[in-house]
């Protein structure tokens, strides 16, 4: 069975926050990324001058070498606070910045994201933003780097949207929102969302991806019209789903991960058919067609899979959702042996037991993974060294140690991934498992 191992005796771990290379940025980073992922939204950072630009390496490039897009990085309006603002306050600077941004930058929605400096000097950012509410659609994400990590920032963004933008709407049958896919932190976020949307469309369900929808503001406003909110993570997006239920009465369902490969994808569709009372025959026909094609195509990769990694002992080092999706696919479809899973996104304590269950139950493999929750790259390295594995599905921080210290193959599938470009690549859905094998075999490349 899976175990949660305490890494060190308690007294040595007095400051678990101190870590080497934790795999996320700050809450400002997360809220900023969510804004960039909302097409047509313009972020306005009320922060030091480096807070935006540093996310370019720490978030955008980290998510598969992505550029920050037209409103990101050095294009992002920022109040660039310095000492004199710390002394006299930054509100005037922010007021001027919002004014000029709304004049100059094309956008449908402006999102003021406030960081550490205004929080520490006590700027009343909310009051300044309020002055503009009549003139333009504008949000204030009241955050700071020290209140939490990028995942927290994602929640705070959604929270601001719900509180400041959304109004009750007529519920449209068979319309759902996709929550829990965190832009940039989940490096396959764009592809994941699109695959889910297309999958749902095939069975007659209209999905609102929220992020990367062509009209971002409209996508946000439509959120309350959904019949159901689908959360693709045991914890990310759950607070938003709860709040939407409270405020608009929208029920929600938590799916532990974006489904990878045919088995989990079919199961997900069957669940949805029950939950949304879809026409059974239509869903089953779609499943049959997709499975037939996927498994026929699996024959094309089967030889190399047997050659490169037959029954491989695997280590997975990733965020919760990616870890669950890949562990299940490897174990239940490819015949891999999940030896160790290290969850790196620091999920809240109360969801950890369930995450361990998702990672250890319902696996065909006789080997069940040892599960750890760890954010510290150094400790992750030490943990991995205790295991003999042949494949490491991890971040690119593990790129060299997997090969040099573990004698294993490595593929970057989680944040940060600085060694591959991910535009709309994804391992989600029917085709996703095959895509994973394509990427792994690229690393293997022979011998035959």
């Amino acid at each position: 069975m899976g175990t949660v191992t305490a890494l060190r005796p308690k007294e040595e771990n007095r400051y678990p926050g101190i870590a080497e290379a934790p795999r996320f940025s700050c809450a400002l980073g997360g809220a900023y990324m969510a804004t960039l992922a909302t097409f047509g939204a313009v972020p306005i950072l009320h922060s030091g001058a480096g807070c935006g630009m540093s996310q370019n390496f720490g978030q955008n490039f980290a998510a598969g070498l992505n550029g920050a897009g037209p409103q990101g990085n050095t294009s992002t309006p920022c109040s660039c606070l310095v000492e004199e603002h710390a002394v006299f306050g930054g509100e005037d600077k922010l007021r001027a910045l919002i004014q000029s941004t709304t004049e100059l930058v094309r956008g449908d929605l402006f999102a003021v994201v406030s960081g550490c400096v205004p929080a520490l000097i006590g700027d009343d950012v909310g009051a300044v933003v309020k002055e503009f509410r009549e003139k333009v659609p504008i949000l204030h994400v009241n955050t700071a780097g020290f209140v939490g990590n990028s995942y927290k920032g994602y929640e705070q963004y959604l929270d601001a949207v719900i509180d400041q933008l959304l109004t009750p709407q007529t519920v449209v049958r068979k319309r759902v929102n996709l929550l829990g896919v965190v832009p940039y932190q989940h490096i396959f976020w764009k592809g994941n969302l699109q695959v889910l949307k297309d999958l749902l469309a095939a069975v007659g369900v209209e999905a609102n991806m929220i992020f990367t929808e062509p009209d971002g503001l409209e996508a946000l406003r439509r959120i309350p019209s959904a019949e159901l909110n689908l959360v693709f993570s045991p914890w990310s997006g759950v607070p938003a789903a709860r709040k939407l239920k409270e405020k608009f009465g929208t029920p929600f369902a938590v799916i532990p991960s974006v489904p990878v490969g045919p088995k989990d994808t079919s199961q997900f569709l069957q669940f949805l058919a029950r939950r949304l009372q879809l026409r059974r025959s239509r869903v089953e026909a779609y499943i049959a067609k997709e499975e037939a094609r996927t498994y026929r195509f699996a024959e094309y990769m089967a030889d190399i899979a047997m050659m490169a990694l037959p029954n491989a002992y695997t280590a997975v080092v990733a965020d919760t959702g990616t870890a669950i999706g890949l562990t299940r696919y490897g174990s239940n479809e490819l015949g891999w042996l999940p030896e160790i899973v290290i969850v790196t996104d620091d999920p809240p304590e109360e969801s950890r037991e369930e995450i361990v269950r998702s990672l250890t139950e319902g696996l065909e493999s006789a080997v069940k993974p040892e599960v750890h929750f760890e954010i510290d790259a150094h400790k992750i390295r030490l943990l991995l060294r205790e295991h003999t594995v042949q494949l490491v599905l991890a971040s690119s921080l593990e790129k060299y140690l997997a090969v040099d210290e573990l004698d294993a193959m490595q593929l970057s599938v989680a944040f940060p991934a600085y060694d591959r470009l991910i535009v709309d690549r994804t391992y989600a859905g029917y085709r996703g498992g095959l895509a994973l094998m394509e990427d792994i075999a690229y690393k293997y490349g022979g011998p035959l």
Binding site: G17, C26, C78, H85
Partner: protein, 501 residues
Amino acid sequence: MTIDLKANTCPNREQRAGAINAYYGKATDLVREVRAGSLVNQEREFQQSSGCVLNFYLTTRVVTIRDAVMIVHAPVGCSSTSLLYREVYRRIPPSEGRPTDFDLHWLTTNIDEKDVVYGGADKLRHAIKEAQARYNPEAIFILASCTSGIIGEDIEGVVAEVQAEVEATLVPVHCEGIRSRIIQTAYDAFWHGVLKYLVRKPVKKQPDLVNIASMLSYTWQDRQEITRLLNRIGLRPNFIPEFATVEQLRIMGEAAVTAPICPTYTDYLSKGLEQEFGVPYFMYPSPVGIDHTDEWLRTIARFTGKEREVEELIREERATWVPKMDAIRADFARLRPDGKKVEILGSLGQGRLLTQVPYFEEIGVSSPAAIIQDFDNLVLDEVEQIIDQAGDFDVLVNTFQAAELSHITRSYDPDVALTCPFQGSAYKREKGATRIHALRGDARRWSAQAGYKGAIAYGNFLLQSLKNKAFQKTMLAKTPDTYQDWWYEQTDPLHYIKKEA
């Protein structure tokens, strides 16, 4: 100016050298006003994220010091840039001379809400001990942040107290993001810590050792080229700080000379090494372009008694490279049907202004204007020399202000616009655009810019950008602009400057 190593940190560039980062006008006027001290920095009513004293220049550099640990005393976001540290730099193949002992480390103290109220000194203490226990480093750099600054963390106090308990030398670096508008303050703050805590009194001089503070924006190939050239006249480069060992920082006082690649990056270090340890330095030129590489080598040779050897080296190298440069110049001359010179607009650091304008002369292109990240009084004579050679030109001083860059690029409409690789959509142009530089992790030959090889490689690189504009043109046509039309219709890139600030 004397450097006061008893102080916790350096003065800001604003105070030390009258630095500004908002100006648009003629180069001659800029120099005159800065010399007179009559230019005050101005606030912008529209501003874009552009990097701070901590990020991203400093962290990406400090983290490369091989047997040191960097502790960023900040909330978790401030160090996220450093995530790329280990694997990106490790891609440089050892066959290209990359050291194999290459296990880079950094820690964040992850300042949280509790620490903001009660202080994070305990955490910092713990982090220092943890770094010592985990990695057994030679030095631990402790980088301050906006948050540690505003909540008044006593980093010096912690260092003084913990130093006795750890073997590594502790080096605090006061790079609080809010302390200065000028990113270059970061370099001075870093060098201050290095000079104060690491460089040791030389026991004996090493007459063949040349300190070279190398910029991350010059590439691995540049480093190889410089090594090749110096080795040929019996000298050894001491490249600092990137990929150096702590020992290499400690022995800087033993070197024969400190030579620039970027003069204003090295300035504080050069002056400090001279003042404290008698190591001479020079600021100009840098080894970019054939003529300037000649001069750079000659200047080093004067400090090391290699005058005879260097002339032989230059003769041989020129025989190899000048014909190649002639071919590049001929290619550029053929490019415009109207017989005019190809126009290249570059956005660059202050140091690069001194290298790029003459280099453009060398390859036979012209530059309608220069965009400089910031400007101070450290290299005024040198800039005047450039103006004398190339004639007066327009200057826009701004630190990564994308809207202003789009404006000036569109109004000057050059044949090629050189952009920093991270400037959003600035590459979208009707004509050519290419990146201005690569970063150190890029070990490919075509990215070289320094020395003789680099002069040729970069010339060819620029030529390539004029041969197909499909990508830039397509992206321009198919994607919307970020700014409203009126922005381009008015004439002032500094439209949003607050005149009275």
